[in-house]
């Protein structure tokens, strides 16, 4: 009886935490989609072009669209925004709520060549089955063609 009860608890807790993980993945997928679409149509600054402020604006959209799943306190929080255009790659990466770090590499290789934006969102989560648990990293990449004139 005790064994069956344990199994039951394990199952219930596992289902609940799995459902939470699915929900979190859903949210960061949606955040990546929203942010990439926003970035695709966001005009560059007329003077400075695609700059850190542009990348930060996209990052903020991703963060807001994730409804807390990409906030700075979330374990494994990860937002990468990259733009490929006339100046090559420009990137902004924020990990674990730290300061956003600019760079000149894509968020991930995609094999494309046209002007485009990449948004990659991610966070860690835990699947718990009462008597044991394991961590998984959730990642949602989105690539969209950049539609504005630089």
């Amino acid at each position: 009886m005790a064994f069956i009860f344990s199994l039951l608890v394990m199952l219930l807790v596992g289902v609940v935490t799995s459902a939470i993980a699915f929900g979190q993945k859903n949210q960061i997928e949606n955040a990546a989609r929203e942010a990439s679409r926003y970035a695709a149509t966001l005009a560059p600054d007329p003077v400075t072009g695609i700059d850190n402020a542009w990348l930060e604006a996209v990052r903020n959209v991703a963060q807001e669209a994730a409804h807390g799943n990409l906030d700075s306190g979330v374990e494994g929080q990860h937002i990468c925004v990259a733009h490929f255009g006339s100046s090559g790659w420009q990137r902004l990466v924020q990990d674990d709520g730290g300061a956003a770090v600019p760079g000149t590499a894509p968020c991930y290789p995609d094999g494309l060549s046209d002007p485009r934006v990449q948004v990659e969102t991610g966070r860690d989560t835990e699947i718990n089955a009462a008597f044991f648990s394991f961590d998984i990293s959730l990642v949602a990449p989105a690539t969209a063609r950049y539609e504005r004139v630089e």
Binding site: I4, L7, L8, L11, L12, V15, S18, A19, F22, K25, N26, E29, N30, A32, R33, S36, R37, A40, T41, A43, P46, V47, G49, S86, D110, G111, L112, D114, A140, P141, A142, T143, A144, R145, E147, R148, V149
Partner: protein, 586 residues
Amino acid sequence: MRESFRSDRGASIFMLAISLFLLIGASAIAVDIAAIWLDRSTDQKVTDAAAAVGVLVAVETGGQDACESALNYVAVNTPDLNTVDTTDCVQFDKICNPDNPLETEWDFPAGRYEITVVHPVTDTHDLMTSGIVGGTAQPLVDDGKPCQRLAVKMTSTRNSLFAQVLGFSSGRTSVHTVAKRIVGDDKPPLNLIVLDRTGCNTISVNGGGQIVADPVVHPDGYLVGGLIIADSDGSECSGTNGVINVSGLGSVIRADGPAGCGGNPFTFKGFPAEEGCGTIRVLAPNDPGPCTPPACSNSGGGNAPNPTPSPLGSRYTRAPADHRYNCYSNYTTPPLDTLWAAEELTTANQQNIDECEETATRDPYIYDLIEFVGPRTDGKPDSTYEYWKAERNEKCNVDSNITINNQNLVIDCNLQITSGKSVTINNGNVVFDQDVTVQGALKVNPPADKPWTFFRGGKLTKAGTGTLEFNNAMVYMAQGSSLKLSGSGSGGALIWTAPTAGDFADLALWSDSVETHAWSGQSALTLRGIFFMPRGIAAYSGGGSQEQTDAQWLAWNLTVGGGGVLHIAPGDGALPALSDRAELIR
């Protein structure tokens, strides 16, 4: 025996087993359904990106490339999909015909997914009407036209993780996105368009001539590349001839732009620029390579166009000019019962123009003017006009200096202004009915509130040493009109500037003539504004030391030769190139 049947012993175990089975089953189904819903979310991200890029590429380079681009974006955005076989994208037409949109729908299986691409998307397609999900048909409101739409549908099949024990081996979900191409508000500048839909050599340079699309300084203080567009599909080309043709030693077609493309550097209005950093686009197909027919050809020492022409996926049309200066809700029926209008818009080789959407705020200024002036047989437009010869008794062969102020005129004879003599008309509208030959000087300064001059026919000729000035004037040339403006390195001038305000602001020339419009370099040349010759042949040759223009050219075709160097640099009020954006509508 009866005792044992009445006993409850063991019932709880039985109930627990049943409950556990149901709980495990429900949990299994819940987990698998959650996975399918996650697929929907991911797939929606994928179809949004794919449809958006597809509809933009469809406009730029046609349906086949659009399909390939859409599938490439599907592969990039789908986590468990590396590539999608794009071979069958050849099913899609290169050019979408807005008059007869042939809908192509093709399925591309890839792993556990099936991707469907549709282009063009007709109004009655399931994806437009929501019939595919059994929903209520959505009304078509501001949804564009079939050629402006592309749809991507994605169906994913997921093997069940746990629900297989209950007999559910897999689950399927399907999402779609329909994207519409809209005109963006970026308004990149446009230097030159040639509108011949089928011709060869539509932009042609020979004999050491040059066409150079200069960069443009954006009002916000940065440099934008020059842009040349040829709207011909090249169907009249044969052999080695191309739509864009450069022949002869030293001949050049080039679009310059901001530094960064590796061309020869120079400074343009204080900004670092490089040769060939602009854009040349042509509708005719161009194989990968520097310059291949039917899009492009070069021979006899002529340089290949710089940069290499890139594809144009759909007709460009004259719509930007008509929508600004001749705004009609329907261009398929001639808007006026005039010979000019009818022939202008119904000739087989003319473009179909989308309706002008600003009819509430903008009138068809050009045709209002045509209607007001009327054909030559109508005589004077109104009583404020006087005939040059019949009423004022002015000489048609001008051998003195004549200045006329504050008077509207109809020049009712062949006007010849001899060398050293001049005609100056201030603050008056002029209607020319016959040939005008300027060996001396003709200066026309129309009133600021009606800044136009009208040619109902005849040929305007300027000798090399003659001087011709249209100051702040829109010149309209009707069918049968033509012009030949020769230049010289030793005198003479051509000053032709558009109005700076009013209905015709920034429009220097609107010609409905199919005749040749010939220009030459001048020792003193000022061209400012939009020169619109959608049915006319534009020809430019050498003849002077100054070739710089501050003008935008739109013509049926353009030939430059004889050492003429035509720099085209659109001014602030020039018609913008249409920039494309995607809007997700379903």
